[in-house]
Every structure is written in C-alpha cells, then in structure tokens.
C-alpha cells in the first residue's frame, strides 16, 4: 500500500546553513509518528516541508503518492504554481505552536473558512461540518466566541478542528502544546490522542516524551539535520541504540 507520507533524501538549507541533510521516512495510513529531538535539530523544519511552508532544495516529499511542491521540466527542478501548491497544502492539516487562529472571526468561522473558500462547500453544509468538528474537540458551546475570548487550550482545540475539518490525508502538529499553560496541556493532548485512536494519520513534533511514547506507532529521533534513530516507541525509549538518543532521553523529563 502507498504510504500517506513519503520523504526521500530531503535536503534543506537556510542560506549556507544546511538544516536537513538527507531525511528518509514514511508514514503509513493510520500511523502516528512522533518526531523528537533537541531544539535546532530540524524537526520543525521537516514538518513545515511536508506542507510546503518551507521550500526544500533536494529530494522529494510525496503525500498520498503525489510528489508535492516541485516538478521537473526538461531536466530543471522548478517550484509549482501557486494554485497547485495551495491545492497540495490542503491535503495536509497543520496545527501550529501559537494556534494562529483568525482573531476577527468566531471559532465556527475559523473552521468554515477553508470549507467554503477552498473546498467550495455551501455555507449551511460547512456550518454543519464545522459544528460536528467543534463538538468533537469539545468546543461546540463556544462556536460563536472570538479567539481572544478563549483560553490557549480552547484556541488550540479550535485550531485542531479547523485543520481536521478539511479532511486532510495527514495531520501535522508543530509542538502543539509548547505555548500552553501546564494545566491546559492535558486537554489538548487528550484531543490529539482521541483522534489518533480513531485512526487519523499524524506526524507530531513534540517535547512531550511521555505522550510520544504512549500514543505513537513510530518515533523518529532527529539530531543535527539527520534522523539518528527511528522505530517503535518501546525500543527507542527503553533501549535506545545511539549514544546521542541516550543522552537526549537522560535530559528529557517524562
């Protein structure tokens, strides 16, 4: 079966600095993959390459078997047009560290914007679907609130609803709980966990080691722009092979 996400020999530079130095990994349908590693190891950049928020310079990213972002014309690698890239971005759902809700819209409108303007769904159908997903993340009673009237945890749950309502092939979480007060982390992790249990395909960049261990099918440990070790969470957390991962786990809290 085709993997949902396939990354082949991915290279990315910021100017002279190479931040991804050849990444290969796959995510199968329904699989939950956590990406862990120290700050600056390239894990967030990797995630952002998966929905083309970052450009990359070599290698390929395939979502649902489709190579995204670049095509080769007469031997020249070129970035695709804006329309095409927008369409491909909608194949993935992204949840940001800082929520990035649209502050001038209600929670419901945040969720329905993409449905009506990108998917072309009629408004009443979009509201129905928006309500469904807001209920799913426990935010239906707050559907008419503005983001500024919601707590961080509530905002992030709305952001999850906004991303997943678009029916993406894979959900990407970029340190989704890092900006939250400690007492709000649980509700967001619970929401993510329940989506994972329903079979949603996910890639999570996270510092929550216990969560990564409990919820993931596979853990990817990144170090200095490379994948230093990957495998099932039991093996990586209980029997890490590389000395770097051993050192990283010692300094991480569970």
């Amino acid at each position: 079966m085709t993997p949902i996400v396939e990354v082949r020999a991915l290279h990315k530079r910021f100017g002279e600095l190479e931040v991804l130095k050849g990444i290969d990994f796959t995510v199968a349908e329904g699989e939950v993959v956590s990406v862990i590693g120290a700050s600056g190891s390239g894990k967030t950049t990797l995630l952002r390459c998966l929905n083309l928020l970052e450009e990359f310079h070599q290698g390929e990213v395939l979502i649902g078997g489709e190579a995204i972002g670049y095509h080769t014309r007469r031997g020249q690698r070129a970035r695709m047009g804006e329309q095409e890239i927008a369409r491909q971005r909608a194949m993935t759902g992204m949840v940001f560290q800082s929520f990035n809700l649209f502050p001038h819209m209600s929670a419901l409108d945040n969720v329905t914007l993409g449905l009506t303007k990108v998917r072309g769904m009629p408004r009443n159908q979009a509201i129905e679907l928006g309500d469904h997903w807001l209920e799913r993340v426990g935010m239906l009673e707050r559907r008419d609130y503005r983001p500024s009237q919601l707590s961080g945890g509530q905002q992030q749950r709305v952001a999850i609803a906004r991303a997943i309502a678009m029916n993406p092939k894979v959900m990407l979480f970029d340190e989704a709980t890092s900006a939250l007060d400690p007492e709000r982390v649980g509700e967001v992790l619970e929401t993510i966990r329940s989506l994972a249990q329903e079979g949603m395909t996910m890639v999570l960049v996270t510092h929550e080691m216990r969560f990564a261990r409990d919820v993931s099918d596979k853990v990817v440990f990144m170090e200095d722009g490379r994948i230093a070790e990957q495998g099932p969470p039991e093996r990586l957390f209980m029997h890490p092979e590389s000395p770097r991962l051993q050192a990283f786990l010692k300094t991480s809290s569970f």
């Binding site: 929905n51 083309l52 928020l53 804006e82 329309q83 927008a86 369409r87 971005r89 909608a90 993935t92 759902g93 992204m94 940001f96 800082s98 990035n100 809700l101 649209f102 502050p103 001038h104 819209m105 209600s106 419901l108 409108d109 914007l113 993409g114 303007k117 990108v118 008419d144 609130y145 503005r146 009237q149 952001a159 906004r162 991303a163 678009m166």
Partner: protein, 224 residues
C-alpha cells in the same frame, strides 16, 4: 455688524456657494475613493511584493508623500498640459489629490499589514488558500481595523487639501468664497461661513468613519 446685509448676500450668492461646496465635495470624494483603491494596490505591493514591485511602490510613497500638495497640484496641472494631456483644471486637481491620497493610504495600509503576525499568512496557506484569498479574508479585514482611524484622518486631509485647487482656478468652495468677498467685502462673515461648511463636511466624514468602525467591531455573531 449688519446681519441683514450678510444674509442678503448669502441668499444672492447661494447658487455659487452651493456650486463651490459641490465641487469641493466631488473632488474630495473622487480623491478619497480613487486614492484608496490605488493606495491599497500600492500598500500590497510595498508589503508583499517582490523587488520589482516593492521598489517602485516604495519610491512612489516616499516621493509623493514628501512633496507639498501645492507643488503636486501645480505640477500635475502644468505637466499634464505640457505632455499633451488636455486635462481641465478640475481633472488635473482631482488627479493630484488622488495621487497624494494613494501615497498616504499605501503607507497606512503597509503599517497595518506589517503589524499582523506572519502566522496569519501561514495559517491561511495551511488550509489551502492562495494569496488572494488570504489577503481578502484574513489580512485585509484585520488591517482595516488598525488602519481605519488613520484612514479617516487622511480623508479629512483630502478635503482640506482641496482648497489648494483654487490656485489652478478650480471654483471650489474657497475660490468661490474669495470671489464673493471681492464683491461685497464681507471678509470675516464669508470666511467664517466657508469654515463652517468645511467643518460640516469633515464632521460627516468622521461620523461615517465611526459608523464603519462600529460595524467592524461587532462580532460575527452573538458574543457573551
């Protein structure tokens, strides 16, 4: 002071006064509307454009904003005829004020857009919107809230700047007033009257601005 003489003179000149007011109103309205549309394009170019778009837009804003409006009015009037564009004084004046208004609106919009977080664009991209959609549904509505008070100030500025069109012979309110005074010598009374009319126009603009502002502040739906 003989008030009956003044009122008599007002009645005798009411057509001229109304016409002058109408010209002031029309030229200001054209400048504000056309200048806002052009200014939005320039504001987008200077904020999000690539170099070939950004640089001319930046240059435009800096040069036009740095030029006295009177110079702009005279230059538009005389340069346009020198290059064979046969503009009437009204057209040249409206064009000058439009160019001036656009430079201000461009700069106001740039300031408002740059105050928005980059995450807003990324969130729009992530749900699959193209830049046009992101600007229309996400950036512009937010920028409008920031920019509205300054935009109103700029609109009021346009009405005041329209008095400068008197130097190229546009019979707007100020020139009309001066012509009336040259016949009856009621300096104080008629300048005061003109002042009141300018105030009413500006006051009306500010009220419209406040109304729009309140509409923008209203939540999309019920708020608790």
């Amino acid at each position: 002071m003989d008030w009956s003489y003044f009122f008599n003179e007002v009645m005798n000149n009411r057509d001229a006064l109304l016409h002058g007011t109408a010209i002031t109103f029309a030229v200001s309205l054209i400048a504000i509307l056309a200048g806002t549309v052009l200014g939005i394009v320039i504001g987008i170019a200077v904020t999000y454009g690539n170099k070939p778009l950004r640089w001319p837009a930046r240059l435009y804003i800096d040069i036009i904003r740095g030029t006295p409006v009177l110079v702009l009015v005279l230059a538009t009037f005389y340069v346009s005829s020198a290059v064979g564009l046969n503009l009437t004084a009204f057209q040249a004046g409206a064009l000058a004020l439009t160019l001036f208004c656009a430079s201000h609106v461009g700069e106001i919009l740039r300031g408002a857009l740059q105050s928005l977080s980059r995450g807003q664009i990324e969130a729009g991209r992530a749900i699959g919107l193209t830049f046009g959609g992101i600007f229309r549904y996400i950036l512009f509505p937010q920028a409008l809230r920031f920019a509205l008070p300054t935009w109103i100030t700029a609109a009021v500025e346009m009405v005041k700047a329209s008095t400068l069109l008197s130097v190229i012979g546009v019979a707007e309110l100020l020139l009309t007033t001066q012509q009336i005074i040259s016949n009856n010598f009621l300096n104080m009374q008629f300048y005061l009257l003109a002042g009141v009319i300018y105030f009413l126009i500006d006051f009306a603009i500010e009220q419209v601005g406040r109304f729009i502002g309140r509409r923008l502040e209203q939540p999309t739906r019920r708020m608790v």
